[in-house]
């Protein structure tokens, strides 16, 4: 487009000058001024036409028209602030919510992992499908085999936990990761200060070098510039800091906790304190790897399959046929994102429906206004406005509304961002990367434009089919709208109801799942129970471990229990390892043991794996678990007595279906030593309880005595009327009175733990519920608008009916029937949609069938009730019509 060189006024002046010159010339020829001037004008032709041609030639009329439209639209919006406010708020809500959910989706699902060439990163997962076990962990020899296979550039198991850090400003309990020296080379991450581990380092045990996180450096070490080379103590072992990782670096973990590692230790997982590198000792998990450049995941998998097959042939005793050992490669992204994908997509779908309902509502409002403005449109068309210009103008109005809404929505989002992040549960992976980034804004803009076009188009299309004569005449008679337009509005309301019903049923199903989960028979009683954790140090040299054998550990445990029992409010006390924490423990806390039954011995890898917890005898009574058979272990089953085990009903039913398991013996390997196995006698059978998973009623579990098998990761359980804040401090004093170097942390009531496991579900239920309520409100507003419109349109007719003696309740029924018809039509369509959506949601439901008749019925009735209520208000107005007034209405 060329630059506009001349103003129209300049052009006008030139024309003026021309006419003056011509007039003068004619006057010189003897004409009078008046004659000369009119002749000059005549010979010039149509001035306006010339000016129009100048105007059209010298600018971009489309642009001009556009600005005209925008200005006009802005004026129209200003003139009806109520309408504008409702429409803008509706859109703000829809677009803001959509952008919010999208920002989470963007951060979790769409962003690649923050490492170079993330497509080469995979999780390496060992499965034993033959015994129904997944992700059993990798053994050290397997790790070495894979690392040497030529398939991977690096393979790196991740260990970790929490550890006592001393040597900083304050003794702290920090999260650490134990990784092989090649870990950072694998991820392609460099420290911001100092150096990383040497990937070729093969020191047995832990190398004495550590890297720390930026946060730990800034927090515990006050950004000490001479941090490199500084000595620190971890569980009393001495280490040297060699580097600081940058603030943006996170371990590829699933949860916030897994990704907030503050210290990295290097280890080759060989030599003490790691167990002997036996092929059968599967303890490395999770394992990540970087595939060699040029290989795809599929190619790598097929080469790995060949390797696994040859290993199975080479070591038939370690890989018995029945266990069917195999190794899976899963893109790292997938393991990190995990199962929230489904929930997030569901939320995005829900919020999209809300946005769509919002659009339909605004379209409805615009249509109502368009009918009021029908005369204006008709008049403009009669005056020669092109149809396309009118269409554009209506579209511009729609877009302007939607843009305003979008802007308000994003503004609200910016303000409420912190709040939003707070209500989202921690368990969402990579959430701290969620932000209002450019892609999010772009998405919001796109949603805005599409929304604007959708609801701008409804009245625009309608305006395109206006019958001028009819319109002008109609308007003259004071009635509004055409039959066709009323039909469009009714269709919109039906759509709105259908969409709302889908959302409400989704919310209803989630609500029922949640309620079912809350009502589930736990099999244990979490009320008034508190758990506090402690951790016995694991020195790198086992000889210095003062709690190594049962005989060493048991007195400590008894002393802690004795002291704890004296605390105020404590009625019962027991201890266990962290796997014994009901629902509150992480995956890394699980101990899975092969279940080798006497008389049916199979190689360790051929035996099914079951979860085992070590507990003190008081544990079962404290948690209110039910004994079905035999006995629980007591104080007499101590470190000197024969080893005992208590199993749950699932194990009993699965492995001794027609026998009494009490008295049978199972072989369990000793802790800290993967080669020695000991026979344990089954003394009792417990009823199943959902300590492992709320949703799974039967997880095989067994319990052993903590006195007979000591553990390092301890949890102390107390029941009674406890003051949560005070008891943690009091218990710490008691534990540290026994051993002042022990950390006491992680105090939590079991109710809190229960709430924690439900947090993600609660979140998606609440969000979808909120969306559903919004949708219901919008649908109610929509039907209210349509019925009000119908009533006002028929005021005259109702007046006549009343004047002729119609009963008011008949009129009421007549109006309500119209509303009911719309609601039922919407509900019927919605039910079909809801059936489809419910089946897609089956994975996130619990205890309720996707096509749950109760939910469907109740929700449909609720929707119709709301519709009736929304219709009742205008209908009541209709029957209060004064026939005289209505008749004079003409």
């Amino acid at each position: 487009m060329w630059r506009r060189t001349r103003k129209a006024s300049d052009f006008g002046a030139e024309i003026e000058a021309h006419i003056a010159l011509e007039t003068e010339r004619l006057q010189e020829q003897g004409f009078s001024y008046e004659d000369a001037r009119s002749a000059a004008r005549l010979s010039f032709g149509n001035v306006t036409r010339v000016q129009e041609r100048f105007y059209e030639a010298s600018r971009w009329p489309e642009w001009d028209h556009f600005w005209q439209d925008v200005r006009y639209a802005a004026r129209m919006l200003r003139k009806s602030p109520g309408f504008t406010a409702i429409a803008v708020l509706t859109m703000a809500l829809g677009i803001g919510a959509t952008a919010a959910i999208f920002s989470v989706v963007d951060a979790t699902l769409l962003h690649p992992l923050p490492y170079p060439h993330p497509e080469q990163l995979v999780s390496v997962i060992d499965d034993l499908p033959g015994v129904g076990a997944q992700d059993v962990g990798m053994s050290v020899p397997e790790w070495h085999d894979f690392a040497r296979s030529g398939i991977f550039e690096y393979v790196s198991p991740l260990g970790g936990g929490d550890v006592n850090l001393t040597g900083s400003s304050q003794p702290t309990r920090i999260l650490f990761a134990a990784v092989p020296p090649n870990y950072f080379a694998l991820l392609g991450a460099e420290p911001e200060l100092g150096r990383s581990f040497n990937p070729e380092d093969a020191t047995p045990g832990f190398t004495l070098e550590v890297l720390i996180s930026d946060r730990l450096w800034k927090g515990a070490f006050a950004s000490d510039p001479r941090i490199l080379g500084k000595n620190i103590r971890l569980d009393n072992d001495l280490y040297q800091i060699i580097g600081v990782m940058p603030a943006g670096f996170h371990d590829p973990g699933r949860t916030a906790a897994e990704r907030s590692t503050e210290l990295w230790l290097a280890t080759g997982f060989a030599g003490p304190p790691a167990p002997d590198p036996l092929r059968a000792a599967h303890f490395l998990a999770p394992v990540i790897a970087r595939i060699k450049p040029g290989l795809t995941v599929v190619e790598a998998q097929s080469r790995l399959d060949a390797l696994v097959a040859s290993l199975r042939k080479e070591f038939p005793e370690d890989y018995p046929l029945q266990s069917a050992w195999r190794v899976r490669l899963v893109p790292l992204k997938q393991t990190v994102v995990g199962d929230v994908r489904q929930a997030l997509i569901m939320l995005l779908g829900a919020v999209g429906l809300v946005l769509l309902i919002g659009c339909v509502n605004v379209a409805n409002l615009l249509l109502a206004r368009a009918s009021a403005r029908g005369r204006e449109m008709a008049l403009r068309q009669a005056l020669g406005a092109e149809r396309s210009r009118l269409l554009w103008q209506l579209l511009t109005e729609g877009l302007l509304l939607s843009l305003l809404g979008g802007m308000v929505g994003i503004a609200i989002l910016f303000c409420a961002k912190e709040l939003l992040l707070r209500i989202v549960p921690d368990s969402l992976p990579r959430l701290n990367e969620a932000s209002i980034s450019w892609p999010v804004l772009l998405f919001a803009l796109l949603a805005t434009v599409i929304a604007g076009v959708i609801f701008g188009l409804a009245p625009a299309l309608h305006a395109g089919r206006v019958d001028l004569n009819y319109m002008l005449k109609q308007e003259g008679r004071g009635s509004t709208g055409s039959g066709e337009q009323a039909l469009t509005r009714r269709l919109l309301v039906v759509t709105e109801f259908a969409l709302s019903l889908v959302l409400m049923i989704a919310a209803g199903l989630l609500l029922r799942s949640f309620a079912d989960l809350l009502q589930v028979q736990l099999g244990f009683n979490p009320q008034n129970v508190m758990a506090v954790r402690t951790w016995l140090p694991i020195p790198n040299d086992p000889a210095t471990d003062i709690y190594r054998t049962p005989a060493q550990a048991a007195p400590f445990l008894r002393e802690v229990l004795r002291r704890g029992r004296t605390l105020p409010g404590v009625e019962e006390i027991a201890m266990g390892d962290s796997a014994a924490l009901p629902l509150g423990h992480g995956r890394e806390d699980l101990n899975r043991y092969p279940l080798i039954i006497e008389g049916r011995e199979a190689p360790s890898n051929g035996a099914p794996l079951v979860d085992a917890s070590m507990v003190t005898p008081g544990y079962f009574h404290l948690l209110g678990m039910t004994l079905l058979r035999g006995r629980l272990f007591g104080e007499a089953d101590d470190e000197k007595a024969p080893a005992v085990v208590v199993i749950n009903q699932t194990i009993a039913r699965t492995y001794w279906p027609n026998e009494n398991p009490v008295g049978q013996r199972i072989k369990i390997r000793m802790p800290g030593d993967r080669t020695t196995f000991a026979w344990n006698t089954v003394v009792g059978v417990l009823a199943d309880s959902r300590t492992e998973s709320l949703t799974d009623p039967s997880v095989p579990e067994m319990y052993m005595s903590l006195y007979q098998r000591p553990a390092k990761d301890l949890a102390i359980f107390m029941r009674g009327r406890l003051d949560a804040a005070a008891i943690a401090v009091e218990l710490r004093e008691q534990v540290q009175a026994v051993n002042p170097e022990l950390p006491v942390f992680g105090a939590q009531t079991l109710d809190e733990a229960l709430a924690g496991t439900l947090a993600a579900r609660r979140f998606s239920m609440e969000i979808v519920g909120l969306f559903a309520l919004t949708a219901l409100l919008l649908a109610g507003m929509g039907i209210y608008g349509v019925i009000s419109y119908i009533v006002s349109e028929r005021t005259h007719e109702i007046g006549i009916r009343l004047a002729l003696g119609a009963q008011r309740h008949r009129i009421l029924q007549m109006i309500l029937r119209q509303g009911l018809g719309l609601a039922i039509a919407g509900a019927a369509i919605g039910l079909v949609g809801a059936l489809i959506v419910a089946h897609l949601m089956a994975g996130v439901l619990y205890g309720v069938r996707p096509a749950d008749p109760v939910t469907f019925g109740v929700v449909a009735l609720l929707l119709i009730a709301v519709a009736l209520l929304a219709c009742y208000i205008p209908a009541r107005r209709a029957i209060r019509v004064d026939p005289l007034v209505a008749l004079r209405h003409e």
């Binding site: 060329w2 060189t5 001349r6 052009f11 002046a13 030139e14 024309i15 000058a17 021309h18 003056a20 010159l21 011509e22 003068e24 010339r25 004619l26 002749a39 005549l42 010979s43 010039f44 032709g45 149509n46 001035v47 036409r49 010339v50 041609r53 100048f54 030639a57 010298s58």
Partner: protein
């Protein structure tokens, strides 16, 4: 000047107005009214130029940089916008003139052969 006068004159062919304007300006700077007069007088009042039609044409030529314009004072002391031929405009005039000559010759030949 009467309406009857104007109806007897020749209507300008499409696209020839540009050529006429450029040709007129070869004698020096001139304002719009002057150009209109010059075309009419030089053609012995044979050509009908609606004065108004001149201005969009002038605007077009100016945008193509064939002529340039600036406000000045006319002979009888009136403000007017004067147009001057640019170098590009001079070249354009040569091109257009030869095109016109070829066109008229060709059309002339056809018409003559029809007659013969």
């Amino acid at each position: 000047m009467t309406t009857q006068d104007t109806t007897e004159r020749l209507e300008l062919l499409q696209g020839t107005l540009d050529l006429l304007i450029l040709r007129t300006l070869i004698f020096g700077a001139q304002h719009g009214q002057g150009i209109a007069r010059a075309i009419q007088q030089t053609s012995d009042e044979e050509l009908l130029v609606e004065h108004g039609a001149l201005y969009p044409a002038l605007q077009r030529l100016e945008e193509r940089k064939w002529i340039s314009a600036k406000w000045g004072i006319s002979r009888n002391n009136r403000k007017a916008r004067f147009y001057t031929l640019t170098a590009a405009g001079r070249k354009q005039l040569v091109r257009e003139t030869s095109k016109w000559n070829r066109l008229t010759t060709a059309i002339g030949r056809i018409l003559e052969s029809e007659e013969g």
